[in-house]
């Protein structure tokens, strides 16, 4: 699994081609089950078709119908209207800002902390730190939300930066767990030889340890990306200025204006859903193996 991720840019298309050829390995294909699975998959596909169909119609075309009718002629203009109405580029930038800071921050802060903890496990101080950081596993956001809103606004962090910092903090315990489990599997000898060659502690981390952490960093990064991009609770409560809101919150804020034209609303929803969907379809192998590794650990 680990090699898939590290070598993925080169290996992904190859692996995909290899996977396709020997279809389900040996034996007969179970057509009955295939048909059942195909029917069940409609539970996923129909809502997505519905969203796309709605986004491509005019209110007149939707009429008093179910909304499932095929959109014709296609109304691309809905996207333009939604784009202008909700100021999609701005919301997109805010989502991107939060996500980039959260992904980079989560990987950096938790990998550094995990490495320092694992390599100094003999000292009770580091074991205590580990336990202390794990406290976060027991504190969901709703429990500390009210004081946190006051704290961030007192610090002038009632904006995307504050949201990103909180994302980093709430995921810290889980990420440190993932990183420390992975670091324990890396042989210490590699680091020792680097030290003998004259590397300082920081150089050892940057040149030897960090590259070895790539697979687990990818897992942490994928979790961080999905959570930060899709989060609604924290940006909604932390960010005070509606102009600085992320894509999901903007959909919420525009509900009142959407009721006059559902088709524009669905165009807006689709644009908000698209980024994660595209990333997923392009990098499915990483995402799936990353989540597998993350949840089994």
């Amino acid at each position: 699994m680990a090699t898939h991720v590290t070598t993925a840019p080169v290996a992904a298309p190859l692996a995909a081609a290899r996977r396709r050829r020997p279809a389900p390995e040996g034996g007969r294909i179970n057509w009955g089950l295939t048909i059942i699975v195909a029917i069940v998959s409609l539970v996923i596909l129909i809502p997505l078709y519905f969203a796309i169909a709605m986004a491509l119609k005019s209110p007149a075309q939707t009429g008093a119908g179910t909304g499932f009718n095929f959109p014709w002629p296609i109304q691309w203009g809905n996207f333009r209207t939604a784009w202008d109405l909700t100021n999609t580029p701005l919301a997109f930038s805010m989502s991107l800002l939060v996500t980039v800071i959260a992904v980079a921050g989560e990987i950096l802060v938790s990998s550094l902390a995990a490495w320092a903890i694992v390599r100094n496990w003999d000292h009770w101080q580091f074991r205590a730190t580990f336990v202390y950081l794990m406290l976060a596993l027991f504190i969901p956001f709703p429990v500390v939300a009210l004081p946190q809103v006051k704290l961030t606004s007192a610090l002038g962090l009632d904006n995307p930066f504050g949201v990103a910092i909180l994302h980093i903090m709430f995921q810290l315990a889980f990420n440190v767990l993932l990183f420390s489990a992975y670091i324990r599997s890396i042989p210490v000898e590699l680091e020792e030889s680097a030290r003998i060659d004259g590397c300082t502690t920081l150089q050892t981390f940057r040149r030897v340890v960090l590259p070895l952490l790539a697979p687990i960093a990818a897992t942490v990064g994928i979790f961080a990306f999905l959570q930060s991009w899709n989060d609604f609770m924290m940006p909604r409560l932390i960010t005070a200025n509606p102009k600085l809101q992320t894509l999901p919150v903007v959909q919420y804020l525009f509900q009142d204006q959407f009721t006059t034209n559902f088709n524009v609303a669905f165009a807006s929803y689709l644009m908000a859903l698209l980024p994660t969907l595209v990333v997923f379809l392009l990098a499915q192998r990483w995402v799936v193996s990353g989540i597998m590794r993350g949840s089994i650990k």
């Binding site: 089950l33 902390a113 910092i165 440190v176 609604f232 994660t276 949840s295």
Partner: protein
């Protein structure tokens, strides 16, 4: 491990006599670089999570309204919270929702994982389809379903004269929670499928071949082989999904807004309302109660995992 500790122990031995250095050595007897790596995490974590948590617990013992001054009033907020029907109902809804959604998510995900692991045509394609909801925003998915469940389904049900669905279930205070269960599970199932698939891959196919040769039926194979072997993954999934469902917020906001009335108002929503209603200290007491319920569950989770000898 002992070898890595060596340089740090030398540092400790080399340490001088200055009181500051002695203090540092008492708490972190290692190279300063390690301290630079860990201290930011400790400081930020303390400041942004632990400090608000302690502060919130303190406010919960006062009559603070979110601004201005406050008076210490002991456990009055807690007493009132326990007697408050709105809060009790929010716990009732959240727990019922979390239990049912966890069961549904696990049952559906296990069945789908087994199907997606067997010899079906276009397996990779089907997996892609079933994984998709995982990356979609729960709030936006809920908005899409609000229209489907609230508008499209009643029209279709009317056309085929199917009475139970002719009016939107989201507008029915006894049935709206089922809509929340459905959409929340729709979003949560893919993650659970992935974990079950990881478990299924670890079962060698020879076991099944041997069982089929011995004449075990598919159902028998499931009950006496697949399910027991998947049980650890069932536990992981139950814990992960239940924990997530307890904090339900996005799906409720998108689907029902907590209504009709307060029928689907979750605990998280009730707490957040503390901002808008001026019940700041009161809802902090509610948050502390919620914390202890979460804690109870987390301790149970730890004990289960430890019994399994897991690393979490």
């Amino acid at each position: 491990m002992a070898a890595t500790a060596l340089p740090s122990q030398q540092t400790a031995a080399r340490a001088g006599r200055s009181p500051l250095r002695m203090l540092k050595n008492l708490f972190f007897p290692v190279a300063p670089t390690y301290l630079l790596m860990i201290i930011p995490a400790i400081v930020l974590f303390t400041f942004f999570i632990i400090y608000p948590a302690v502060q919130g617990a303190f406010w919960s013992l006062t009559n603070y309204v979110g601004y201005g001054s406050a008076k210490f009033i002991g456990f009055a907020n807690y007493k009132a919270a326990f007697a408050d029907a709105t809060i009790r109902d929010s716990y009732g809804f959240t727990l019922l929702f979390a239990v049912v959604a966890t069961l549904l998510t696990n049952a559906v995900a296990m069945a789908l994982a087994i199907a997606l692991n067997s010899k079906i045509r276009w397996r990779a394609g089907f997996r892609t389809i079933f994984f998709m909801p995982m990356v979609l925003s729960g709030l936006i998915v809920s908005y899409i379903f609000t229209f489907i469940i609230g508008t499209s389904v009643p029209i279709i049900a009317g056309a085929i004269h199917f009475a139970p669905l002719q009016s939107s279930i989201l507008a029915n205070e006894h049935l709206a929670w089922l809509g929340v269960v459905f959409v929340a599970s729709w979003v949560a199932v893919p993650g659970a499928i992935i974990i079950f698939l990881a478990g299924l891959v670890s079962i060698p196919s020879e076991v099944y071949e041997a069982a089929s040769i011995d004449g075990a039926s598919a159902w028998k194979q499931f009950t006496s082989m697949t399910f027991p072997l998947l049980f650890p993954f069932f536990i992981i999934n139950t814990i992960l999904s239940f924990k997530g469902f307890l904090n339900v917020y996005d799906v409720v906001v998108g689907l029902t807004g907590g209504g009709p009335g307060t029928a689907t108002t979750s605990v998280a929503m009730t707490i957040f309302n503390g901002f808008f209603s001026g019940d700041y200290a009161y809802q902090m007491a509610n948050a502390v109660i919620f914390f202890f319920i979460t804690l109870l569950f987390a301790l149970f989770q730890l004990s289960v995992i430890r019994r399994r000898g897991g690393s979490l």
